[in-house]
């Protein structure tokens, strides 16, 4: 049921109705071209999960039961932490040298264990010189994650996502000259508002708006686009001042022609910034997102075995046996229950006794290919351009530049030089040298002299990261969303195998790539097991 957005407008009676129905109005808007993107954006918004209370657990005492946790990603850490609290005997087997999975902060000395491209970060050794190569943003609606940050005393700070002072660059627009986000979006909104106002005023209406409603709506449209009394957009100070404004008269920047703005498709993303998942205030862990991992490890760090690579999983009626390779030898572990956050596409490569439909479901999930790169900047040149945090958008393959909040006004900073969450294979398939050159060339288009301003590149191609080979799980094969068969596979993997083996992680959710999903997946498994244990006599 779609809530009627007009139902709060009172009074509805007595006033003469003007002759355009809402439907016709929206139709007209769509016909003028301005609303296509808006409709799409609202469809995208539909994907945003409902804001919920934080998920909390009330688990029964463990009474010495044991659990093996395969993988030290966020969901695995959460299970270990929660079970340890209630007296379970837990062991985490982590294949790599670190916990956190795709919560990965790169700083001085960090090993980036990409297959075929091992890197060691040589940023200067300073607290603010770090790069969140995986998880980087916590929406304020992700209550469960925020709860853990509070419980584990992880200090948080605001993350700046949308910043109108950042740049927009497209080779096809204005000869490739970058413009400020504020310029682009202000002008585009002005032109869109003109279209909307025309649709409002030039159309006969056969039903619904009252004069008062129409006046309110028109007022919003004018305000949205900063139109003048004649409903014409004549530029706006919102796009920035060309000069003056404080001690001298302010001079408006020239309007960029609509035709020029339409040379780029970046507007579709720019106009829905701060919507959906990035609509709430965003936060980050101060000093790097892996502070969250550290928080968990302060509680359960002694239960982690590093460089313990699982080789086989044998799910039995009375427990789970796991073999893993550690220090050159194969060791057997046994526990009553097993929680597995190893990526599905790697589980299929293990020796196991899973039934065929379970294996088929594991193999069905495709792996994402997100890619990020970062540089250390010799100086914080963006601050000279009024930029403190936020994202520059480009149409070139590097796509984004992120400016750090950490270390404001220090000499150096670490900037994200590329983030491709859709087609990361473009850079992944390059050599390190080619990747870096590509990002330098792309960045140069926004920041002249970039090549000399940045140094010490690191790249993180998740598709090739050791023990992960992907970011993040891609379930639906059709852009229209999840099919019933896909949902059935997902529910099959979510349910415990033989009551003993739980697949967990953001991969076992309908909203992969977010930490909150990993936590909720872990909580689902823990609650399910808790219920089973409470209901079973043994």
């Amino acid at each position: 049921m779609i809530r009627n957005p007009f139902c709060d407008l009172q009074p509805m009676k007595a006033e003469p109705a003007r002759p355009v129905s809402r439907r016709e109005f929206l139709h007209l808007l769509a016909a003028t071209g301005g609303a296509g993107a808006v409709v799409k954006a609202s469809a995208a918004l539909g994907l945003l999960p409902a804001s919920a209370e934080a998920s909390t657990l009330q688990l029964a005492p463990g009474n010495g039961r044991s659990a093996l946790i395969l993988g030290g990603g966020l969901s695995g850490l959460t299970v270990a932490h929660e079970l340890a609290k209630t007296g379970w005997d837990c062991t985490i087997l982590e294949a790599s040298q670190r916990c956190g999975g795709r919560i990965f902060t790169v700083r001085h000395g960090t090993l980036i264990d990409e297959l075929g491209n091992r890197q060691v970060c040589d940023f200067d050794d300073a607290p603010h010189l770090y790069f969140n190569a995986g998880a980087a943003r916590i929406p304020s609606t992700h209550r469960t994650l925020l709860n853990y940050c509070k419980e584990l005393e992880v200090e948080l700070e605001i993350f700046v996502n949308e910043n109108k002072s950042c740049w927009v660059q497209d080779d096809a627009m204005l000869g490739g000259r970058p413009v400020r986000n504020a310029e682009y979006t202000t002008h585009m909104r002005g032109f869109l508002a003109e279209l909307m106002a025309k649709a409002m005023t030039e159309t006969d209406m056969d039903e619904p708006f009252t004069d008062s409603e129409a006046e309110t709506l028109l007022g919003m449209i004018r305000s949205f686009g900063n139109l003048d009394e004649e409903h014409v957009y004549r530029g706006s100070f919102r796009a920035g001042h060309a000069s003056g404004g404080y001690l001298d008269d302010g001079v408006q920047k020239d309007i960029i022609a609509l035709r020029d703005l339409l040379k780029t498709r970046l507007g579709m993303g720019l106009l829905r910034a701060s919507e959906g998942e990035t609509g709430p205030i965003l936060l980050q862990a101060r000093g790097g997102m892996d502070r969250i991992v550290d928080g968990f490890l302060r509680q359960i760090g002694d239960r982690v075995r590093y460089r313990a690579m699982v080789a086989s999983i044998d799910v039995r009626d009375d427990g789970v046996e796991v073999a893993c390779d550690h220090d050159g030898s194969r060791r057997q572990f046994r526990a009553d229950y097993c929680f597995n956050c190893i990526p599905t596409h790697l589980v299929t490569g293990l020796d196991h006794n899973f039934p065929a439909d379970y294996v088929e479901a594991l193999g069905y999930v495709r792996r994402g290919a997100a890619y990020k790169a970062a540089f250390q900047a010799r100086e914080r040149f963006w601050e000279q351009q009024d930029i403190y945090g936020g994202i520059t958008w480009m149409t070139n393959p590097s796509r984004q530049i992120w400016y750090p909040i950490a270390g404001i006004h220090q000499r150096k900073g670490v900037i994200l030089g590329a983030y491709d969450y859709i087609n990361g294979m473009h850079h992944t398939s390059m050599t390190q040298q080619q990747r870096v050159e590509a990002h330098l060339a792309d960045g140069e288009k926004v920041h002249p002299g970039y090549r000399e301003l940045v140094e010490r590149p690191v790249t993180v191609a998740w598709h090739r990261m050791n023990h992960m080979l992907g970011c993040s799980a891609r379930w639906p094969r059709d852009s229209g969303g999840w099919s019933q068969a896909e949902q059935a596979r997902y529910r099959l993997l979510q349910a415990p195998l033989n009551g003993r083996h739980y697949m967990i992680g953001d991969q076992i959710s309908m909203h992969s790539a977010w930490m909150e999903s990993a936590l909720l997946s872990a909580h689902w498994a823990l609650n399910d097991l808790d219920l089973r244990l409470r209901n079973s006599p043994a």
Binding site: H345, T348, N466
Partner: protein
């Protein structure tokens, strides 16, 4: 003996070293492992093969064949053609390997438990048997392989991998590099395969040989 050009290899190693220094990265961090035993991340526990990441079974592959392929990958003889999607992913893994690393990896793989692959593909086994007569010349009647003829064992291998490789040979995505002598031979032989159905049939027949091997 595999055919490789020592100068080419030296050149590549220098290039890699230059790339690494430009990228500002040392090759190892203190306290981190230095070996190149990465295979099982993709190829699965004991190199059993993992279809989800299209990485074939390594356990049971003969050392001479693995060595030749690693050297071919390292030299860009294999895994450089844009049509060879999986080979392109493998090539960078081998690009930085030293001869010592390759021998170390082969030693490691030699110690793995060999489990014949589970069939995933069906076809007309009788038709496949007829087609396989050509293959048997080099790969052997039981698909056991022959080092002398440079033909790897096929029985026990992942069928989906064999399909991909046959498709690649047919399309010229594998075996077309001028220095890939064995690959060129194989390309000539794949000419007997008329298309997708023939590939499935011959692989189905090889699966039946795998089943016999298990017995």
């Amino acid at each position: 003996m595999p055919i490789t050009c020592p100068f080419r290899r030296l050149f590549r190693i220098c290039l890699l070293a230059a790339a690494a220094s430009l990228a500002g990265s040392a090759m190892a961090a203190p306290g981190e492992r230095l070996d190149d035993r990465y295979c099982t991340t993709c190829h699965g526990a004991d190199g059993r093969g993992n279809e989800a990441v299209q990485a074939p079974k390594l356990a049971g592959m003969a050392s001479w064949y693995l060595r030749l392929q690693l050297e071919n990958y390292r030299a860009g003889i294999r895994g450089a053609h844009p049509g060879d999607i999986e080979g392109l992913a493998m090539q960078p893994m081998a690009a930085g390997l030293t001869d010592e690393s390759i021998e170390d990896i082969l030693d490691w793989i030699g110690g793995w438990k060999v489990i014949p692959a589970t069939p995933t593909i069906s076809g007309d086994v009788a038709a496949g048997a007829a087609l396989y007569r050509t293959c048997a010349t080099c790969h052997g009647a039981a698909a056991e392989g022959s080092e002398a003829l440079g033909a790897p064992a096929l029985a026990g291998q992942n069928d989906w991998y064999m399909v991909t490789q046959l498709e690649n040979f047919l399309a010229g995505a594998r075996g077309a590099h001028p220095e890939d002598i064995r690959g060129a031979q194989m390309r000539t032989m794949t000419a007997v395969l008329g298309g997708e159905q023939d590939i499935r049939d011959v692989v189905a027949y090889i699966n039946s040989l795998t089943a016999r091997m298990v017995e």
